[in-house]
């Protein structure tokens, strides 16, 4: 049941969840602190069997927002975990040790937005050329 998924997440992480926005039956956004992302990802991926879709990141000028998108295919629901990290020192735990499929996108966010993913097995450039200057992040709003 679609409601069942959010209820399970709420039940397990009631202290960690800052806010839940249910845009519709099929789209839900859960706000979390950066330090809680990894455990919630582990729960959704391993215990609830969600499919990892992708991570997207936005420079909102106040912070860098990172969104982790997961799909529950049996009910057609996408649950997005959202967190905000400091623009001056953007760092967060990598989820690649949990989900192999996250390796590339964390590298991409690293090079395009400058976010450091701690404990990523292979944090290096993915798309930009070697001679692209350090410290220049194309998707940042400078």
């Amino acid at each position: 049941m679609a409601e069942g998924i959010l209820a399970k997440i709420k039940g397990k992480f009631s202290w960690q969840i800052l806010n839940i926005f249910e845009k519709s039956l099929r789209r839900a956004y859960i706000d979390l602190k950066p330090e809680n992302i990894k455990e919630v990802v582990e729960f959704i991926f391993r215990r609830l069997g969600a499919r990892f879709v992708i991570v997207s990141a936005v420079d909102t000028r106040n912070a860098i927002e990172i969104l982790y998108h997961f799909s529950f295919d049996s009910v057609g629901k996408i649950v997005t975990l959202r967190t905000k990290i400091d623009r001056q020192n953007p760092e967060i735990e990598s989820i690649t040790p949990i989900i192999k499929g996250a390796e590339w996108i964390e590298r991409e966010i690293y090079e395009l937005l400058g976010v450091r993913f701690k404990n990523h097995p292979n944090l290096k450039r993915l798309l930009l050329a070697e001679d692209w200057p350090e410290g220049k992040y194309p998707l940042r709003r400078e």
Partner: protein, 140 residues
């Protein structure tokens, strides 16, 4: 017309170079080899090595990584080597003009001898472009 040019116009060997391409032009180039259009009957052959090429069919906008490859490729090509820019991206970069990862259109990096615009250009347009090139060559 000297022997070199004559040989060139009789049987053109083509090398296909795709820079940052969406592949549509590349597919249409390959399409030109399939039974409906069949460029091979004109003696136009797709070759695997730049050292055998008379013409470089260039597609896509050029990203930084591709620009390095292109320069090296062009140096290795035995001259005379003509470059034909196929598709709007190769001609002028089109919608990717302002992107941070682009190194400029083809004619900024290598001499371009023919432009075939279109997104993608139909195989008929490509054949027309090649025919015009051959005619221009024959004129000298």
């Amino acid at each position: 017309m000297d022997l070199k040019t004559k040989a060139l116009t009789k049987s053109i060997w083509v090398f296909h170079f795709a820079a940052a391409s969406c592949n549509n032009c590349d597919i249409e180039i390959l399409d030109a080899l399939t039974p409906r259009f069949d460029l091979e009957r004109f003696g136009i052959l797709l070759v695997g090595s730049i050292r055998h090429a008379d013409v470089i069919l260039a597609t896509g906008a050029i990203s930084h990584k591709a620009a390095i490859r292109l320069k090296r490729l062009y140096e290795q090509a035995p001259k005379p080597c003509l470059v034909v820019a196929v598709g709007s991206c190769a001609c002028s970069m089109c919608i990717f003009r302002d992107s941070y990862n682009m190194a400029g259109p083809f004619d900024g990096l290598v001499p371009v001898h023919a432009y075939i615009p279109g997104c993608p250009p139909k195989p008929e347009a490509m054949i027309m472009g090649v025919v015009k090139l051959i005619k221009a060559l024959k004129k000298g």
